[in-house]
Symmetry: C2
């Protein structure tokens, strides 16, 4: 196998300390290339953990559903990922990962893994209530995410991803719509095509839907759950993120990710809080 | 403290083996009073696990977000719940529970707990896009859930809960609506009022929304996540459950639970599969 040449593969690379894939301790190295201001993006951290979990059971590489609880911000540098297999069955394996840095727990992950190819072969009932939220290709009027936040802070993640927000995105032009929903197209900046391992990252890569309520600021994630529904085709991913209920400072954010064929490839939900220093 | 007299309290009772609340091994006893056909309802099993997790950190009794992965069906009889605190902070504690019977893992739970009273005192931004899905009280035309499934199998859970389905529920009268959404009112049959500990149970207590697609049958839950958003007031809980995407035999089901004041008290999402024997 040749060395990975794309940023996402390099920066989420993990290896089992024992030298053999399976449960046990895995190590890796977070970089600062996926930072939101001064901390690694939560989806990037989760994707790194999932990469180790994917190696725990040979025939169950795909995360069907993963939940991460964010305990403390992560930082660039070495990571320890302790992977345990709770149960492995014929179709599914349930796996936990304790992700730490310098002996401090950063995220805790619980997931059920399987083989998406097998799922597709099995076929089964299909019924989709709605289609992809936006066109396959971003229009020329789509708004490039800049390398700074609305508050002027640096966004290194913007150098690794090509994110085009829908032209209707109000908060970017200082006119929040009042409805907490954002839509956009996303892909890696270096041409790497999307795959299953990238979906946990993309599920947390858009700006918060809450920005459309005029509540710019820090909205830390407490928990993020991603359901991977299919393998994505090459090309742009189309994302819609929305928040329906913000109460007592806590909110959910629901996401859908659609691929270029018009297939729903992931759904996400997070519980977040509006941080007031 | 007097002995509990309500079925839900009796049947989810757990105690720490050490005699002192905190992390470690807890034990309890599932009963068959919450069975769907011949297995305990998944929400009942989760509620029992959450009861132990609630005792792990003294000032963080409330599950803000809990995720359960279902590994094997549970059964009536003794349970072991191994509770670990991953991290405890000032506002939040992250806790895992490994729930087993006879040495076999049944469900694995990951949750973040806190104190809902503190959240209310903190106040914070509030914005709800939509209101409760149905009236406060069930109309006389609401449909009582019977003690058998559509396939004629026994539902012991129906003796413990008073569930009234919305009069528009099509599948009950053999006319599925074609839209995978169900609405209903629910409370305990013995008059116990709802509280936070009951919400993980109620989040999984309605019949599957998929029944409105004419796909009666077994739809096992792989993963269930419940966000508790507020403490419920006494009275009926109002629930709406819906599925938007069923593909390759897998589906999400999203739920909302509203209390008698019109407060959203919980949201849920599960990943399930349509089981074809």
């Amino acid at each position: 196998m040749s060395e990975p040449t794309f940023a996402f593969d390099l920066d989420t690379a993990v290896r089992p300390v024992s030298g053999t894939a399976g449960p046990g301790l895995w190590v890796g190295q977070l970089t600062d290339r996926w930072d939101i201001v001064d901390k690694p993006n939560g989806g990037y951290v989760l994707a790194t953990a999932v990469r180790a979990m994917s190696g725990a059971v040979a025939n169950h590489p795909d995360p069907f559903t993963v939940t991460a609880h964010y305990l403390r911000p992560s930082e660039a540098g070495p990571v320890d990922i302790d992977v345990e297999v709770v149960r492995t069955g014929r179709k599914l394996s349930t796996i936990t990962a304790s992700f730490s840095q310098g002996g401090k727990a950063r995220i805790q992950v619980l997931g059920t893994f399987g083989d998406l190819n097998e799922r597709i072969e099995a076929g089964g009932a299909t019924h989709l209530r709605s289609g992809a939220p936006i066109d396959v290709e971003p229009p020329t009027t789509a708004i490039h995410r800049g390398a700074t936040t609305p508050l002027g802070e640096e966004m290194r993640i913007a150098l690794q991803t090509d994110l085009r927000m829908h032209p209707d995105t109000g908060w970017i032009v200082g006119k929040p719509s009042g409805t907490a929903e954002v839509r956009g197209w996303i892909r890696f900046a270096d041409g790497r095509e999307p795959d299953v391992s990238a979906l946990p990252f993309f599920a947390d890569a858009l700006p918060p839907a809450l920005f459309e309520l005029d509540s710019l600021g820090w909205v830390p994630t407490i928990e993020l759950t991603v359901h991977v529904r299919a393998k994505p085709a090459p090309g742009w991913l189309r994302c819609v993120m929305s928040t329906r209920f913000l109460a007592d400072g806590y909110f959910e954010e629901d996401g859908e990710i659609w691929d270029s064929r018009g297939v729903l490839v992931a759904q996400s939900r997070q519980l977040g809080m509006v941080f007031r220093p």
